[in-house]
Amino acid sequence: MAYKGNGINYVYINHNNLYVCALTRKNENVMALVVFLLKLIEVLTLYFKSLEEESIRDNFVIIYELLDEVMDYGIPQTTDTKILKEYITQDYYRLIRNTPLRVVQPPNAVTNAVSWRKEGIFYKKNEAFLDVVESINMLINAQGQVLNSEILGEIKIKSHLSGMPDLRLGLNDKGIFSADSSSESTNSKGIEMEDIKFHQCVRLSKFENERIITFIPPDGEFTLMSYRLSLAQFLMKPLILITCKTKVHKHSRIEIMCSARAQIKKKSTANNVEIVIPIPEDADTPKFVPEYGTVKWYPEKSCIIWKLRTFPGGKQFHMRAELGLPAVVDPEELATMRRPIKAKFSIPYFTTSGIQVRYLRINEPKLQYQSYPWVRYITQSGDDYTVRTS
């Protein structure tokens, strides 16, 4: 991702078989370069749905325009897609032919202190939707013990609010952020949230000094804050416990006995549970006997996936699979069998950390309208909920 040659340093990232690359002769801030390249990909993806060779060829005009705005003389300017959309519009041509008098102007927001929201937004019904999403990453060994776990939480907001509203978010006691300088956080019952990250609209100094989250939201969808809890003491048992026994009869077949148990409250239900079990690449002729749900074989990924649409709390299900193996075995093959089992799931109306939104106060000083905040909770698997085999 960084390479130097001939006095020039190349910093690049790989995206959809494209290399997005930045060059410098100076000792530049490489983290800023990497993040800028990522933001650039993000911006282009938003404009073209997906960024690949084809979409670059088809959209060179707009890419030139965007590059002009996101940086100048190698200095990043603005990478906020919401604002860029305001004045780099896909369909210039039509815009100008139909309304020749309307001139595109740079939105004030580009250079304002509130660079993420334009003025004069209006909604008939003023609503704000809050989603508290917690993604669980867990590393479980073959005996069902949790080796490492973390909760990656996000509070997402979809804002349909008029004017320039000022919002204040209150979280429940448990979620009160421990003033991290005090060391007695371990004996109090509160959760110690680690590295809370806020969207740039949140007044950081206000939070730092008074522990209050206040902000003027951008219009539409955005992630207000994210937090991380790495809680070995808090998440001792897996939410979905998977035990899997594999028996390899060399030269003939492989037997897999898998059981899954939802270790969540009886009232809760896990949805769209998927358990991905790796199998040898050269396995064939699968036979599945699931107690519940469906099992499918994906030879191109060398795995079988057991799907359970709903999985009520406290229940346990079993599945048995049998696949044939070729008579000749590559000794290296068995080593690749050590790939872990992965699981995906989502559990609505429930947060693992227990965080709750107490209130969301919305105040628009000029318009003084009635507004409706809505809150949803969901816990889901992160991209790394894995169970080690053997």
Partner: protein, 702 residues
């Protein structure tokens, strides 16, 4: 059709080809056709086709109200200005008009493009528009103009300073708009890097500026924040109170969602933290943000983050002592991340997490990827050497790996790790009895010279613990000549040592044989010399001297974890988040400071001054000539009409040439180089050459 026409069309060949199509599109009477043609020209330009021949035709389209078309023409200008410097001047008027447009977007666009046209002549026309836009009411225009000053400096430092733009820029640091502030700072940095004039003071960071910057830090965009933080980082706070104030303002930035803001904030805090009394409390605040660099979802950013964490850890080892689990390897991590995580994990090892860590390392050693397995086994050794509490556990682990996993790779690496452990804890009976049998069972599997060297050293150091010592020594001596010279030296030493430690003469045959082989048949001078020294020592000196020289213990290994030397570490700490932090090398080793310098050209006001009118005349002449050529070629069915077209084309172009009255006075006085040179081939500049070379390198890369 007359005969003449037929002959002409025959000579001219078919009216086809992309360039021709584009050309006719560009001069079409329909707006949308012209625009479409421009788009296609840009497309051809983008894929690397040379469309510079169309320059005059594209230029005709510059006067338009269609913003997109304007942008495209500007883009074309930027690209081909160098090959047609004389024709670029024709666009100057449009630029100057555009910098006075009521629409700020167009004003900014014009000044931005002017700066990007890297033609010396342009310099002379930039003074007025640039000073106007620098004082523009609209911040969007101001922030664009601020960067244009750096572009001008790049083109001609002398003029830039003489016109006072650098001073203007310094004033803009106090602009009420945060984005303008950030861009001015960036522009000044660029100028500072390019500046080669020691008398020019580009940027002085005063306490007032710092105060101002701290005020606007929270209002900046993420990129602006990085700029401001970088400036704070350069500032040497005179008092602890001021350093404390800076830290207090920067700490909230640790919560920013952009990892580069976070890392730059960390750097700034570390820069000032030594001055303040509450250092441990502040360092504690850094641990969560550091961890967040690793938990970001982007592997590239994680990698940069970890490279930096390694530097910070060396300076402040306690900072992440509780965060081992974060660095556990995920199955889906790319290999470079896994290896980097291992580096950090061994550095975080302490007495309380050693068990956990070793368990993890064992998992990685059972993985498939050879590089990871090797590194994991090395790490086990490093941990055992670092922490004496877990040495037995580590040794057992390595032995289990040899027995259970097996394979050349694992055995060789594990043997190296085991012998290193014995060098850390020499003479420990329990360890030796654990290690020696395992190694002696796998002598046949040792293939790498490192592992062999370890084994040979071990056999010489602890001969008593080996079973069937005799046959093992025999094997070494018999194969003596097949080993590489480094190993021959080792064998020599070990055989001599065995001989001395056993006292009786049971190994004298082997000794005799190895000394003879080494002195008579070995080609390597070092091996021969060593053999002679041993021989003489054994035959003449006292046993006391023999003991002292031959049985001398090797120095104890204290660590196998690499660390920076203090000078490098200090420079890396100051260069956190930069390229140096990723390469782990001081910037001076890979950055050429002069690569960025601009020569201060002293001849900005050239002696020969040209008149803008002469210039216009010449340019006009060329376009007329072009037009005529075109007509000759076009001599077809519409040939007769085309000949009339030339004057009307000229009328169109006249609009472009009209200079605003107030500008004229200043412009005519401006310098231009010898006009005659204008029409010569554009002189290739060294800069273009290097650029070309660079692209080649880049292509090689992928």
């Amino acid at each position: 059709m007359s005969l003449e026409k037929k002959i002409l069309s025959f000579l001219k060949g078919p009216k086809k080809g992309e360039t021709f199509e584009l050309k006719s599109g560009l001069v079409s009477q329909y707006k949308h056709e012209r625009k479409d043609a421009i788009q296609r020209v840009i497309q051809a330009m983008t894929v690397g086709k040379d469309v510079s021949l169309l320059f005059p035709d594209v230029l005709k389209n510059i006067a338009t109200y269609d913003l997109e078309q304007k942008k495209l023409v500007y883009l074309y200008l930027m690209n081909y200005a160098k090959s047609h410097p004389e024709l670029c001047i024709l666009a100057v008027n449009t630029f100057i008009q555009d910098t006075e447009d009521p629409n700020p977007l167009i004003r900014a666009l014009a000044i931005r493009t002017m700066g990007c046209i890297r033609v010396d002549k342009m310099v002379d026309y930039m003074e007025i528009p640039l000073s106007k836009t620098l004082a523009d009411d609209n911040p969007y225009v101001r922030k664009t103009a601020a960067i244009c000053v750096a572009k001008l400096f790049d083109l001609n430092p002398q003029v830039c300073v003489e016109f006072g733009f650098v001073d203007e820029l310094k004033k803009l640091i106090n602009d009420p708009n945060p984005m303008v502030v950030a861009n001015s700072l960036n522009s000044l940095y660029e100028i500072r890097d390019m500046n080669s004039d020691p008398n020019l003071n580009v940027l002085d960071i005063t306490p007032e500026i710092i105060k101002n910057l701290l005020m606007c830090l929270n209002e900046c965009t993420e990129w602006g924040r990085i700029t401001v933080l970088t400036t704070l980082n350069e500032y040497e706070a005179p008092t602890p109170a001021e350093a404390g104030h800076i830290i207090e303002r920067v700490v909230p930035q640790l919560q920013h969602v952009n990892p580069s803001v976070v890392l730059t904030s960390i750097k700034t805090i570390l820069r000032h933290v030594d001055k303040v009394p509450l250092k441990p409390a502040i360092l504690k605040k850094l641990s969560a943000p550091l961890v967040s660099l690793v938990s970001s979802s982007i592997p590239e950013a994680q990698y940069v983050g970890m490279k930096n964490i390694r530097i910070i850890l060396e300076k402040h080892p306690q900072i992440l002592s509780k965060e081992l689990r974060v660095f556990f390897i995920k199955y889906s991590d790319p290999l470079y991340l896994k290896l980097e995580k291992l580096e950090i994990m061994v550095r975080l090892a302490n007495d309380s997490n050693a068990g956990l860590l070793l368990g993890e390392l064992k998992e990685y050693a059972m993985e498939f990827e050879p590089t990871l397995v090797t590194k994991a086994i090395k790490s086990v050794g490093s941990v055992a050497i670092k922490l004496s509490v877990c040495v037995v556990k580590a040794v057992n682990l390595l032995c289990t790996l040899i027995d259970q996993r097996g394979g050349d790779l694992v055995i060789n690496e594990a043997v190296v790790a085991l012998t290193n452990i014995l060098r850390r804890y020499p003479g420990k009976n329990d360890l030796i009895t654990l290690i020696v049998p395992v190694i002696s069972n796998h002598v046949e599997d040792l293939t790498t010279s490192e592992a062999l060297a370890g084994y040979i050293w071990l056999i010489g150091e602890y001969p008593k613990y080996f079973s069937q010592l005799h046959s093992k020594v025999d094997a070494l001596v018999d194969g003596f000549l097949e080993y590489e010279s480094q190993l021959q030296l080792n064998i020599l030493t070990s055989v001599v040592k065995i001989n001395l430690s056993t006292n009786d003469s049971s190994y004298s045959n082997q000794l005799q044989k190895v000394l003879e082989l080494a002195t008579k048949e070995c080609e390597n001078a070092d091996v021969r010399d060593k053999a002679y020294i041993y021989w003489r020592l054994l035959s003449s000196s006292s046993t006391d001297a023999q003991q002292k020289v031959i049985m001398a213990k090797l120095p104890r290994i204290d660590t196998t974890i690499a660390s920076f030397n203090p000078v490098v570490l200090e420079s890396l700490i100051n260069d956190l988040s930069t390229l140096a932090s990723v390469y782990h090398k001081p910037a001076s080793t890979f950055i050429d400071p002069s690569a960025y310098k601009r020569a201060g050209t002293g001849t900005s006001k050239a002696a020969k001054s040209g008149n803008i009118r002469d210039l216009t005349k010449l340019a006009k002449q060329e376009i007329i000539n072009n037009a005529k050529n075109e007509n000759l070629l076009d001599f077809d069915d519409e040939g007769t009409e085309a000949s009339d077209a030339a004057p009307s084309l000229l009328d169109e172009l006249n609009d472009l040439f009209i200079t605003p009255g107030d500008n004229q006075g200043s412009l005519t006085n401006q310098s231009t180089n010898d006009i005659l040179n204008l029409f010569g081939p554009p002189q290739p500049k060294p800069a273009t050459n290097t650029e070309r070379k660079d692209t080649n390198d880049l292509l090689d890369l992928f």
